[in-house]
C-alpha cells in the first residue's frame, strides 16, 4: 500500500488530534491534582511531558500557533518557577488545557486558532513576577553552545526540508557596548538582512548583557563570508563565527519521520552535539524519554491499533448478516429433516450447524468486545466539569466516581457524553445548594455529586446523583403551567414520576436565574432525546432536601436487541423487551374513553391504550372481543399497546432504515427474521407523542 504525501499528512493530523485529546485529558487530570497538592512533582512532570509532546506534535503538523504557545508555556513550567507561584500553577495548567482545546478545535475545522490571550497573560505573570536568579538562558559564558531546544531543532529541520542552507551564527557583543537591549535589536536587524532567522538566543533583548553572546540559526542562500560581513556591526559586535550546519543524514525527511524517530534526535546529534550544557542535555533527555509513552510515536509503534470505528461497524454488520444466514439455514435444515426423516445426512447437517452456531456466537461476542470501552474514558472528563462549576458558583462540591470499569459500546458512550455532562452540571448548579443554605438545613457544607455505572442484565445503568435540595415538584408544576407546557388539569392527573419527567420537556428550565453554567438555552430535553435515540430511558428519584438521582439506562450495544414481536393490523412489529413491563388481556368492554384518550384499568392504575393501527388511521379493522395489551414503561410513563397476536421473543440484529425515503420517526430500525420477513422496531417515545396528537376514534361523538 502506498500513501501520497497528502494522505500521510492527513493521517498524521488525525493521529495528532486523537492523541492530543489524551494529552489534554492528562493535563486536566494533572491540573486538578496540582490544585490539591501544588508541590506534587509527579503531576508537574506529567504536565511538562504533555506540553512538550503537544509542542513537538503540533509543530510537525504545521500548527505553528499552538506549537509556539506550548513552547512558551513549557519554558515557564520549570520546577523553580512553579515553586514560587504554587498558588497559580493549577490555574495556569487548566487554562492551558482549555486554550489548547480551543485551538485544536479551530485547527480541526480549518479555522484560525484563537490567540490564547488568557494563557499568555499567565505565562507573562509567571515570568515577570520576581523570578529566581537562575532564570534565563546561560548567556554569561562567552562560548557558543547552540543548545537549541527541541522546538528550535524542529524548526531547523523544517528549513532543511525546504532545501535551505542553515548557518549557526555566534556573535560576541563588544564588552564596551552600552545599551545591550539596543545592541540586540541592531544585531537582530543585521541578521534579518542576512537571511531568515530560524532561531535566536536569547529570545528577549532584556536577557542580553554587555559582552554577552548571541546565538542564531540563520537560513540563507548567501555564503558564510557574506553573512559575516553583513553582521559586522561596528562597536557592537566584537567577534563573529559563522558555520554551516551539516546536512542531515536522514534526507529526505518528512513530518512523520521527524515524529517517529524519536523526534529531532538526528538534528540534535549534529546541531547541539558540539558542546552542550550538561544540565540542558539531561533535561531534554528526560523529556524525550518521558514523552514517548504519550506521544504520537507511541501511537504508531505500540501494540495497540487505532482503527476507524467505521471499519468495525462493517465487520459488525457482516456478523449480523451471518446471524440472519444462520437462521435461514436452520429453517432449511428443519424442513429437510421433516421431508427426509430417515436420511443419513440429517445428523451431519445438525452437527455442522451446531458447530457453525458456536463459532458465530464467539465471533459476535468478539466483535462486540472490540467496540466495548470502559466508561472511565468518559467519566474522567467530569472532575474538571464539577470543579469549574463549583469554582464559578463558590460552592464546595466533591465528585465521587464509581464503576468506572463498566464496559459499554463506544458509540453509546460517545452519545452519552453530552447528556451526562449536562446532568452533572445541572446537579452541581441546581441540585447542590449554596454553602449557607446547606448549613441552614443542617447538612454538611460540602456537596457531593456521585457518578456510578453498573451492568444490569443486558443494559448498563449510569447514575448521576447529588445530595442537594431535590426536585421541587410544586415548582415544576408551576413552571410547566407558566410556560404553557401543561394545563392545570393535565398536571393534576399526573403521578410523581410523570411530574419529575416534566423537567425533560423542551422549553422547561427551573433555574430562577439563568446561569452561565446550565442555563444556556439548552434544557434537559437534550438529555431525553439523546436517550431516546439510544433506545434507552431515564429514571428520576428525588427526595426533597435529600437529593436527586438520575438513572440513565442504555442498552449494552446498538447492534442487536432482545425484542418482543407481535402483529398489529397484519403488520409485524417489535419493541425492545426492556421496555415491556407486562402483558395482559382485556375485553373491549373494559376500554373506556376519557377526554380524547382510550384508557383501561390495570389493577389500581389507569393506563392509556394505544392502538397502532391508528398510525395509518385510514382503514378500519375488525376488533376482536379480547385484545392483548403489552404494557410499556417509557420515561416514567406507562401505557398499553393493543396488539392482535403475540409472536414471542427474539434477538434482532438491528438494521437502520437509513434511506431518507423511508425514515419514519415512529420506526427506529428494522430487522430480518430467519424466514426473510422484515420486522419493524418501534420507536416507543415517538409513537406515544405521535398518537397523543390523534384523537381516539369516536371521541368526538
Amino acid at each position: 500500500m502506498t500513501f501520497s504525501p497528502d494522505d500521510r499528512a492527513s493521517e498524521l493530523r488525525d493521529l495528532f488530534f486523537e492523541s492530543a485529546e489524551e494529552i489534554l485529558q492528562a493535563m486536566n487530570d494533572a491540573g486538578l491534582a496540582l490544585e490539591e497538592h501544588p508541590s506534587d512533582k509527579e503531576s508537574l512532570r506529567s504536565v511538562r511531558r504533555a506540553v512538550h509532546t503537544l509542542k513537538g506534535d503540533s509543530a510537525a503538523c504545521g500548527y505553528r500557533e499552538l506549537s509556539e504557545l506550548a513552547h512558551e508555556l513549557e519554558d515557564v513550567l520549570t520546577p523553580d518557577l512553579v515553586k514560587e507561584h504554587a498558588g497559580l500553577i493549577a490555574e495556569v495548567v487548566l487554562t492551558a488545557a482549555d486554550t489548547f482545546r480551543d485551538m485544536l478545535a479551530a485547527y480541526r475545522s480549518n479555522l484560525q486558532p484563537p490567540d490564547g490571550g488568557a494563557l499568555r497573560e499567565y505565562v507573562q505573570r509567571l515570568l515577570h513576577q520576581p523570578a529566581s536568579a537562575g532564570r534565563g538562558r546561560p548567556s554569561e559564558e562567552a562560548t557558543a553552545t547552540f543548545s537549541w531546544t527541541e522546538y528550535e531543532r524542529l524548526l531547523i529541520a523544517e528549513s532543511f526540508r525546504r532545501g535551505e542552507t542553515v548557518y549557526q551564527v555566534a556573535l560576541h557583543l563588544a564588552s564596551e557596548a552600552v545599551l545591550p537591549a539596543a545592541a540586540y535589536e541592531l544585531v537582530k536587524k543585521a541578521l534579518e538582512r542576512a537571511g531568515k532567522i530560524v532561531a535566536l538566543r536569547p529570545e528577549n533583548s532584556g536577557d542580553l548583557v554587555s559582552g554577552g553572546l548571541l546565538e542564531a540559526a540563520l537560513a540563507s542562500t548567501k555564503p558564510a563570508d557574506w553573512i559575516r560581513k553583513r553582521c559586522q556591526v561596528p562597536s557592537v559586535v566584537a567577534q563573529i563565527s559563522v558555520n554551516r550546519i551539516p546536512l542531515m543524514e536522514t534526507e529526505p525527511r518528512d513530518v512523520l519521520d521527524i515524529l517517529v524517530e524519536s523526534e529531532a534526535a538526528a538534528v540534535s546529534a549534529s546541531v547541539a552535539g558540539q558542546s552542550a550544557d550538561p544540565g540542558e542535555i539531561e533535561e531534554e533527555d528526560e523529556a524525550h524519554l518521558s514523552s514517548a509513552p504519550t506521544g504520537l510515536a507511541h501511537a504508531v509503534a505500540e501494540n495497540t491499533l487505532r482503527v476507524d470505528a467505521g471499519r468495525i461497524d462493517t465487520v459488525m454488520n457482516l456478523v449480523g448478516e451471518l446471524i440472519i444466514g444462520k437462521s435461514m439455514l436452520q429453517r432449511t435444515i428443519a424442513e429437510f429433516e421433516r421431508r427426509f426423516a430417515k436420511d443419513a445426512l440429517r445428523g451431519k447437517f445438525s452437527d455442522a450447524l451446531a458447530f457453525q452456531s458456536r463459532i458465530l456466537n464467539e465471533l459476535q461476542k468478539s466483535v462486540m468486545k472490540i467496540r466495548m470501552v470502559p466508561v472511565e474514558q468518559l467519566f474522567r472528563r467530569f472532575p474538571r466539569v464539577v470543579r469549574d462549576v463549583a469554582k464559578h458558583l463558590n460552592k464546595e462540591i466533591a465528585l465521587e466516581i464509581a464503576g468506572q470499569n463498566t464496559d459499554l459500546d463506544k458509540s453509546i458512550l460517545d452519545a452519552l457524553a453530552e447528556p451526562l455532562a449536562h446532568l452533572i452540571r445541572n446537579a452541581a448548579d441546581h441540585g447542590i445548594e449554596t454553602a449557607s443554605e446547606r448549613a441552614a438545613a443542617g447538612k454538611p457544607v460540602n456537596g457531593t455529586v456521585r457518578l456510578d455505572a453498573y451492568h444490569e442484565g443486558d443494559q448498563v445503568v449510569i447514575e448521576v446523583s447529588d445530595n442537594g435540595r431535590g426536585i421541587d415538584r410544586e415548582k415544576v408544576i408551576r413552571r410547566a403551567i407558566e410556560r404553557g407546557l401543561m394545563s392545570a388539569t393535565d398536571t393534576s392527573r399526573m403521578n410523581e414520576s410523570e411530574i419529575n419527567h416534566l423537567i425533560f420537556t423542551p422549553g422547561f428550565s427551573t433555574a430562577e436565574n439563568v446561569t452561565e453554567i446550565s442555563g444556556r438555552g439548552v434544557g434537559l430535553d437534550v438529555v431525553k432525546s439523546a436517550l431516546d435515540n439510544l433506545k434507552g430511558s431515564i429514571e428520576i428519584e428525588t427526595e426533597s432536601g435529600k437529593g436527586t438521582t438520575f438513572r440513565l439506562i442504555v442498552p449494552l450495544t446498538l447492534a442487536s436487541i432482545q425484542a418482543l414481536l407481535f402483529h398489529v393490523a397484519g403488520r409485524l412489529y417489535a419493541v425492545p423487551i426492556s421496555s415491556v413491563v407486562e402483558i395482559t388481556r382485556i375485553t373491549e368492554a373494559e376500554v373506556h374513553r376519557v377526554d380524547d384518550h382510550e384508557v383501561f384499568q390495570l389493577r389500581q392504575q389507569v393506563l392509556t391504550l394505544v392502538r397502532l393501527e391508528r398510525l395509518e388511521s385510514t382503514e378500519k379493522f375488525e376488533r376482536s372481543k379480547r385484545v392483548f395489551v403489552v404494557v410499556i414503561g417509557a420515561g416514567g410513563r406507562r401505557f398499553g399497546l393493543a396488539v392482535d397476536r403475540l409472536m414471542g421473543e427474539e434477538e434482532l440484529v438491528i438494521k437502520a432504515l437509513e434511506d431518507q425515503l423511508v425514515t419514519s420517526p415512529l420506526v427506529s430500525g428494522a430487522s430480518i427474521l430467519g424466514d426473510g420477513t422484515i420486522v419493524l422496531i418501534l420507536n416507543i417515545p415517538a409513537v406515544v407523542s405521535h398518537l397523543a396528537r390523534i384523537p381516539a376514534v369516536g371521541a368526538t361523538a
Binding site: 425515503l661 420517526p665 420506526v667 430480518i672 420477513t677
Partner: protein
C-alpha cells in the same frame, strides 16, 4: 460511429420508460412488501433483498396513476443511486433496448418546465417512444406531474421534432 446505448425498458401504464443499464442492478419479482408507517404515499414499503432492507417506490403511484392492479407480470427494478439501492415497481419489465445515441432526442422544452423535468430524453425504438428517466428527480420528495401529461408532452415533442 458511437456505440449503442443500452437501456433497460419497462412499462408503466401504456408507456415505455427507460433507464441506463448501468444504474440497474437487477430485476426481481415482487416479494412481500412491508409497509412503513408514516412514510410518504408513493413509498410502498421495504423489501428484503437477500438480507438488505431496501425501500420500494411504486412508480405507477409516483406518476399519479389512480388504479393499480397487481399482476404476476409486475416486477421490481432495483436501481443503484449514489450507493443507495432502491426498488421501483413497474407493470412489467420488457427488455434491454439498444438505441444509437443519434436516436435519442434531448427533451423538448416542455419537459424542462416544472414538475415534468424528470424526463432526460426521448428515444425511438421500433416505432415506439422510450422516455428516459432521471432517477434522482423521481426519488425526490414531492409530487410529480401525471403520467398522461408526460406521455402527451412526449408526443407533442416528437411531433415537433418531425416537423422541423
Amino acid at each position: 460511429m458511437d456505440k449503442d446505448i443500452q437501456i433497460v425498458g419497462f412499462r408503466i401504464g401504456r408507456e415505455t420508460f427507460g433507464l441506463p443499464i448501468a444504474l440497474v442492478r437487477e430485476i426481481v419479482r415482487v416479494p412481500e412488501i412491508t409497509s412503513v408507517p408514516n412514510a410518504p404515499d408513493y413509498i410502498e414499503g421495504v423489501i428484503n433483498l437477500r438480507g438488505r432492507i431496501i425501500p420500494v417506490v411504486d412508480l405507477r403511484k409516483r406518476f399519479g396513476e389512480k388504479v393499480i392492479e397487481a399482476s404476476k407480470r409486475n416486477r421490481i427494478v432495483v436501481v443503484e443511486l449514489e450507493s443507495r439501492a432502491i426498488g421501483l415497481i413497474v407493470n412489467s419489465a420488457s427488455e434491454v433496448i439498444k438505441i444509437p445515441p443519434s436516436d435519442i432526442e434531448a427533451p423538448h422544452s416542455v419537459f424542462q418546465e416544472g414538475e415534468l423535468n424528470y424526463i432526460t430524453g426521448v428515444g425511438k425504438f421500433r416505432g415506439r417512444l422510450v422516455m428516459m428517466l432521471d432517477l434522482s428527480k423521481i426519488l425526490q420528495r414531492g409530487e410529480l406531474r401525471r403520467l398522461e401529461d408526460a406521455a402527451e408532452s412526449a408526443a407533442v415533442a416528437t411531433d415537433n421534432m418531425a416537423r422541423v
